[in-house]
Subunit: 136 residues, 2 copies
């Protein structure tokens, strides 16, 4: 049975369960930052998965990217699979803005500014609505 | 006609021209660091390309990942499309090691340590050989 890594769970809010990935909202108001975690036991490197599975993950990356673009109109998306600390395969999809806290530097390693609970829940509801609309 | 961004060209060595991407070696001995640049005019976001083109790029990411794994046996691959500074779409594929210069932090923003010309050329030849062997 697939178990979400504890650190990923602790650092994020659960949004929804897509076909191949869990979708998480990083608990950091500095950037609109979503994470896809493929529900595949022991997956570490995206490129070690079979190509069909990679393609399914890529389709969900596309979906999440489109939602971030629609809602936030970012300057740039940052899409990355790093995993130096948490080995469980996860893909960051982050909306970046020229005036965000560390632009143009990458976001990793900077201190997080947590959401107020209600603001996180509102954003999660909105993202779920966008996912539903996109699926239609 | 596709033109490689000047900053990408200045910061790297050209390795070879794959079907859809140029393959570059980042001029930084701190990490084995390759970059794929799709030869597509005005491409910025991977997820804005059509899915067939994305899949072709993904196949080349797989190829480069396998070559880095074969030659360097890294602790972890870092695969990322950021583009906060250079907008032209490019994908980083970096071999990371627990004892590398900034592990587990991301590599971007750290000062580069350039290759001696001959060492770069030797590595480029070796990567081209691995690409040829992999294509067989």
């Amino acid at each position: 049975m697939f178990l979400l890594n504890k650190q990923l769970a602790d650092d994020s809010f659960f949004i929804t369960d897509l076909k191949i990935c869990h979708l998480l909202l990083m608990n950091n108001t500095n950037y609109p930052w979503l994470i896809l975690v493929p529900k595949i036991d022991n997956a570490v490197e995206l490129t070690d998965l079979d190509f069909a599975t990679q393609s399914e993950i890529l389709a969900e990356i596309n979906l999440v990217a489109k939602i971030l673009q629609k809602k936030f109109r970012p300057t740039k998306l940052n899409i990355a699979s790093l995993g130096n600390i948490v080995k469980q395969l996860h893909v960051h999809i982050i909306a970046r803005f020229e005036n965000d806290k560390v632009f143009p530097k990458p976001v990793w390693g900077d201190l997080s500014q947590p959401y107020e609970e209600q603001k996180a829940q509102d954003l999660i509801m909105e993202i779920k609505q966008l996912l539903e609309n996109n699926a239609k």
